[in-house]
């Protein structure tokens, strides 16, 4: 206990030096915590934004193969699928049933490419809640040929609500088709993905795609949160597998790019009727997770590099401390302090320095994250996809934070160990005789 008190007193004696060393440690901890926090929220925010754009966390796609080997996405009778959703006990917040096409919008010599989703506005409540209109609105979608586009597309085409545009697309079997649409509304640009999407009535889209009025291509199940996405996806896969032919998820699970391998399964298989593909948002965003993992690894490397530099500083500082306090050490040893206690005194000083610096660093990190989180980014910001409601968010994992502090403490102790051992090994008589 006396050693702890002495260690704290020694740190307090040299305020400036303690502050500088502690600040170096705090800076390292702050940088790493902010990066960890960003990586933690990065996946969640992208997943949530992507779920909003794709209108679901868990998806079922129906695939039909023609005699010539061409694959077409189609779900005709979904009674079995809806029963499977029910049997899998999925707490769906919304269910979306959409038909879509990559289309070219043409107006008065201007041209824009975008994905047009066919939506049943009378049943789907998800989209109307999300859309933020600048001009026009959902009223125009009561017309069969209404279309909603984002602001950048409207600007590129130079259109206003009420203008009639041509939409060139391909039918399910790849035939050229053209529809005429009326601009019903122009929405706020929701970042790069949002600006590439438009929405039309499913009935008209189905007609242009040569689908039946009740057919669609993708069933999306929107969960209350990201939590449980994989588990619900697995449960749904098993339920659909029990009642209909499905693409085998297990066959692709060892592939580095699961989703590509899973989506390409149909190319090598032949089947009749409709075969279903059950997949989740996490399957699609596996590569985003890899980016987050890479960020986490990078932050750990940054932490180690920073601390190797800081360790050199700590070792040098403790050597100076040893030199400065050499007669004090001689005195302490003369009045009965053992070698181990002298070593521990220095190690306690280093430990308190590390802990103090780490706590200070964490406080700084939370201040920095709060400050960045307070910045409001515009909806058309290119970083929209990584934002949550227009703000950058951070998610710090407590275990990861503790690990960082432990690494810092261990490295600091290691840096201080050799000067501490040298101090402990000093001959008291020699130490007392030393003149600085």
């Amino acid at each position: 206990m006396e050693i702890i008190k002495l260690a704290l007193r020694n740190l307090a004696r040299q305020k400036k030096r303690t502050f500088l060393l502690g600040s170096a440690i705090a800076f390292g901890i702050m940088i790493v915590t902010v990066i960890n926090g960003f990586a933690g929220a990065f996946v969640d925010n992208i997943s949530e934004n992507f779920a909003n754009l794709a209108a679901g966390h868990v998806f079922i796609q129906g695939v039909e193969k023609s005699a010539s080997g061409k694959e077409s996405d189609i779900i005709r009778d979904d009674a079995l699928l809806m029963q499977a959703v029910k049997d899998a006990n999925i707490p769906s917040k919304y269910i979306s049933k959409r038909s879509s096409a990559q289309a070219s919008l043409i107006f008065a010599g201007h041209n824009a490419q975008l994905k047009v989703d066919g939506v049943d506005f009378s049943k789907e409540t998800f989209l109307p809640e999300r859309l933020m209109f600048i001009k026009g609105g959902l009223e125009g979608m009561k017309q069969r040929d209404g279309i909603i586009i984002s602001e950048p597309i409207a600007k590129r085409l130079n259109v206003q609500p009420g203008d009639r545009v041509l939409v060139q697309l391909r039918t399910l079997t790849g035939q050229q088709n053209v529809g005429e649409f009326s601009i019903a509304g122009i929405t706020v640009d929701a970042g790069i993905f949002g600006s590439m999407s438009g929405y039309a009535n499913k009935t008209y889209m189905n007609e242009l795609l040569a689908l039946g009025p009740e057919d669609y291509q993708l069933l999306g199940i929107y969960l209350p949160s990201l939590k449980g996405t994989d588990a619900y996806g697995k449960a749904l896969y098993e339920k659909v597998k029990a009642v209909a032919p499905v693409f085998d998820r297990d066959a692709a699970k060892n592939d580095q790019n699961f989703i590509r391998s899973f989506m390409n399964q149909g190319k090598t298989e032949t089947w009749t009727g409709i075969k279903y593909r059950v997949f989740t948002l996490n399957d699609m965003l596996a590569q985003v997770k890899q980016i987050a993992d890479a960020l986490d690894t990078a932050s750990l490397i940054i932490l180690l590099v920073l601390f190797v530099i800081i360790m050199v500083g700590i070792t040098n500082t403790f050597r100076i401390i040893l030199y400065e306090r050499i007669r004090e050490i001689g005195t302490m040893r003369s009045i009965g302090m053992q070698r181990g206690e002298v070593r521990n005194l220095f190690l306690f000083e280093a430990g308190f320095l590390a802990l103090g610096g780490a706590v200070f660093g964490l406080v700084l990190a939370f201040i920095v994250m709060a400050a960045i989180g307070g910045i409001s980014f515009s909806m058309n910001s290119p970083v929209f996809i990584i934002l949550k409601n227009g703000h950058m968010t951070f998610k710090v994992d407590a275990a990861r934070m503790l690990l960082n502090v432990l690494i810092v403490a261990a490295l600091t102790e290691f840096a201080a160990f050799f000067p501490s051992r040298n101090a402990a090994r000093l001959d008291p008589a020699v130490a007392l005789r030393t003149v600085k």
Partner: protein, 253 residues
């Protein structure tokens, strides 16, 4: 009054029937269509040619694309290699039976594609360079007589037999004096005119066949967009088997 109108209407209908194309009753339109297909089918010979495509878009400078085509119709093989512009040089399509791959030398990867893709932002599609299959893919819905420039023509309205061809309806204008198309109008499933192709009546010899030396494609949706294709370096000599391989595309750059 009705009594008077009845015979009058019947007489009118008879007059229309009599006024129908004199040759129409005796002309074998299916045979004409088959002849057109045959004109572009090199059978057991191989075919290669260079197509220079000049595309015009309003407000933009004309862009030139050059492609080299290699065809082996007997085995349903085709290779399209982009030679210009420099940026896309080395890109290409390889079709073997029903499989089509696109090769991008920048990534060094092949990806599955279709013959319905437009080539390098021009109005020409990959499928425009394969042999014609009008007789196999389309039913003759209607034939009319007409005149295009100084040529007496048949105008065929063709309806797709299957849903896998690009255009659901085609109106084909063919010279009466020989089975050579002068104009092709392509319609969408919703019956909107999408593209007009004019085969200018100057021909180039390809073995024992004659093919149009210049073709003009007009985009009817994007007004002002058009492409002019000029054919050169036509040969029908035997090509090495190695041409119709992925390795050829990889090495071709």
């Amino acid at each position: 009054m009705k009594r008077l109108l009845g015979p009058f209407a019947a007489a009118l209908a008879a007059a229309f029937l009599l006024a129908a194309p004199a040759g129409a009753a005796t002309t074998d339109f299916k045979a004409i269509l088959a002849q057109i297909d045959k004109m572009q089918d090199f059978g057991s010979s191989d075919f290669s040619a260079v197509y220079n495509i000049v595309s015009e878009k309003p407000g933009e400078n004309p862009a030139t694309t050059q492609i080299k085509i290699f065809r082996r119709d007997l085995q349903n093989q085709i290779l399209i290699l982009l030679q210009k512009p420099e940026k896309q040089k080395g890109q290409g399509y390889l079709k073997i039976d029903d499989n089509v791959w696109f090769y991008d030398p920048e990534s060094g990867n092949f990806s599955h594609s279709t013959m319905k893709e437009n080539i390098n932002n021009t109005d020409a599609k990959s499928s425009d360079f394969k042999r014609y299959t009008f007789a196999a893919d389309y039913d003759i819905q209607k034939t009319e007589e007409g005149k295009l420039g100084s040529y007496e023509v048949w105008i065929f309205t063709l309806a797709a037999k299957n849903t896998e061809v690009s255009y659901q309806k085609i109106r084909l204008t063919v010279r009466k004096d020989k089975a050579v198309p002068l104009k092709e109008e392509d319609f969408s499933v919703s019956d909107r005119l999408m593209r007009t192709t004019l085969f200018l009546p100057t021909y180039i010899k390809a073995g024992d066949r004659q093919i149009p030396a210049k073709i003009k494609m007009v985009d009817e949706l994007n007004k002002g967009n058009q492409s002019v294709l000029t054919i050169s370096d036509v040969t029908v000599s035997k090509l090495p088997d190695s041409v119709f391989t992925k390795a050829f595309l990889e090495r071709a750059q």
